[in-house]
Amino acid sequence: MDFRLKHKEETIALAVEASGEGGFAAAIGDRRVAVSFARISEHQMRLTVDGRQVLAFVAETPDGKAVMVDGRTFLLADERASGARPRSGAANGPKTVTPPMPAVVTQILVAQGQAVEKGQGLLVVSAMKMDTLLTAPFAGVVTRVNVAEGEKVAPKQVLVDIEPAAAEPAAGRAS
C-alpha cells in the first residue's frame, strides 16, 4: 500500500503495511516506523510512533489535508502519479489488493485477463477526498475484478485477484 503525499514541491512516499487493526508499519525512504493510532474525534488522532505518543489534528481543506503535529501545520495532498512504482520498502509489502481504509472505488484501471507488472496501478479508491492508487503487489494476470466503480470497500476486502506470473519477479511480463 503506497501513499504519495505532496507537500508544496516535495513528495513524501510512504510504503504502508497494516499490522492489525489500528496499526501499521511505514517505510519512508530509509526510515521504518511502527505506528499505532486511534481516532479521538473527527479532527483528532492519537498516534504512537516508535513508542512516542503524538496528538495530531487533521482537517480536510480545499487544498488538501491540513495536519498539525507539534505546533507545525502542513497541507498534504495525494499525488496520484500514474505508473508509480513502489519503493524498496514495499518489497515485502502486502500480497493482496485491498484498501487501507474504508473507501469508495473511483476508478478501475485493469480488466479481467490483463497481464500486470508488479507496482502497476490497478484501481483508485477515495476516502475523505483523498485518492489512493492501489498497485499490483506482484506481476501476474488479473483473474477477477471483484468490485465496480462507485462501490464502497473496506480493509481486508480483496478488490482484484491476481494469478502470480510463473517466474515472478524476474520475468515480470506474462505473455
Binding site: 503524538v54 495536519v67 474504508p102 483523498m130
Partner: protein, 495 residues
Amino acid sequence: MFKKILIANRGEIAVRIMRTCKEMGIATVAVYSDADQQALHALEADEAVAIGPSEPSQSYLDIERIVAAVKQTGAEAVHPGYGFLAENADFAARCEREGIVFIGPPARVIRNLGDKIIARQIMQKGGVPIIPGMLETAQNPAAWLVHAEQIGFPLLIKAAAGGGGKGMRIVHHPGELAEACQAAAREAAAAFGDGTVYLEKFLPKSRHVEIQILADGQGHTIHLFERECSIQRRHQKIIEETPSPALTPALRAAMGRAAVAAARAAGYVNAGTVEFILDPEGRFYFLEVNTRLQVEHPITEMITGLDLVRHQIEIAAGRPLTLTQEEVHGRGHAIECRIYAEDPAQNFMPSPGRIAFLREPTGPGVRNDCGVYAGFEVPVEYDPILSKLVVHAETRELATRRMIRALASYAVLGVQTPIDFLLDVLASAPFQAGETYTDFIATHFADWSPDRKVLELAAIACVADAMAPKGRPAGRASEAAAHPGPWRTLNHWRL
C-alpha cells in the same frame, strides 16, 4: 454608567470589548456587514445590527450607517475598537454633535495628533523629545535639500497623515531626495487624501517602545509602563512584550514621564499610547500618539492586572480616574503573538478561507483573544487577524517558554497562520537575548521557510487519519472484535 454600548468594530477586538461590557452589566450592540453575518462578534452581542455590504467603506467605515445603528438601538456610547473609525476625528466630532459618547479622546485631540507635523509641534512645546527633523512641510526641492542637509543622511520621508508605513521612504543620498519626496507625496495623497510629507532623521538600529497612558476628564494622567513592539513585518507589529528587555528602571521612569507630558501637552483624555523610538544609546524620541485602544493592550493588562476597556468606559462616562501612579505596579512578563490568517513563507500574504478546525491554547497564564471559530469563513475584506495569543509568567524566559508551549498546542486548520514562524522566532537566540530591533525579521528571518522536522510525522498522521474510520469512538476496536456487531458484520463500513 451607560446602559448600552455599540461596538463599531468586528472580530477579536469587538468580542474583547463586549466581554468587559458584560462584566459591567452594560448591554452590547454589534454591527456587522454582509460578510460578517455569522461572525463571532455578531453572535456574542445582545443585539446585532446589519450595516451594509462587505465593502468596509459601505459598512464599518460608513459614519452615517454607524450613527443610524446607534440611534436605532438607543445605545448611549460607541466604542470604536482599533482601525476602522477609531482614529477618525470626523466620526468623533459627529458623535459629539449627535450627543453620542465616543469612547476615546475628544475629536480635536484626534485631529491634532493625527497630523504628525502638528503632533511634533505640540510635543516640542510640551518638552517631549522628538526625532530631529522638520516641524513644517516644504514646497520645493531646494527647500527639501536645505532641511535634509541640516538633518543629515540617512533620513526618513514621512507622510503627515501617515500610518502603516504608507508614504514612508528612507533616503541615503542627497541625489535621491527630490524624486523620493515626490513619490512619497504621491503615495500619501493616494492613501490618505493628503500628500503632505516631511523629513526626519532615520535611526537605523532602533527599537519601537510605546507607553500606555490613561487620562481622565479632570486632568489626572498616569502611565501603565511600556510595550516593546520592535518585531514587525511590513511596518506592522507581530510580537509585543512588556517589560521591554531594553529598559532600565530609570529609563522606564523617564519615558513614562515623557508620555504623561505628551498626553498633557495634547489635552489627552481616555486611554492612549505614546510611541517612541529608542536608540541603542538609550535616547528616546516621540514618534506618534495612537488615540485609541491598542491591538497589543492585553500585555499591559496582564502585568498590571488592570482592565483597560473598563477604564476607557469609566473615563468616557465622566468618572474620575482614582488610580494613582504609585498604585500601578507591573508584575512579571507578558508576550503577545498576533495570529493572522497569512502565510509567513509567502511574504506574509493573507490566507483567507474557512476555518475547518480550531483548538485554542489554554493553561496557566495563557489568554487568547479570539474572534473566530471552527466553521467560520475568514472574509477577504478585512484585517486578517484571527486572534492574539498572550502569555504571562514570572520572567521573560518563563514567558518565552510559556508562549512556545501555547503556540505548539494551537491548532488552526483551514487557513495559513504564522504559528510555526512564531515558534521559530521565540526559540531563536536573538529573540531570547532580547535583541529585538525593528529590523529583526529582515535581519534574522528574511528567508524563513517552515521547519520540516515533523513533516514525515504529519504524513504518518495523514495516513492514519485515512485509515481510521470516522464516526466511531476511539478504543472500541477490541470490544468490537470480542462482540461482533454491526461494525464487524458490515465489514467495518460506517453506518
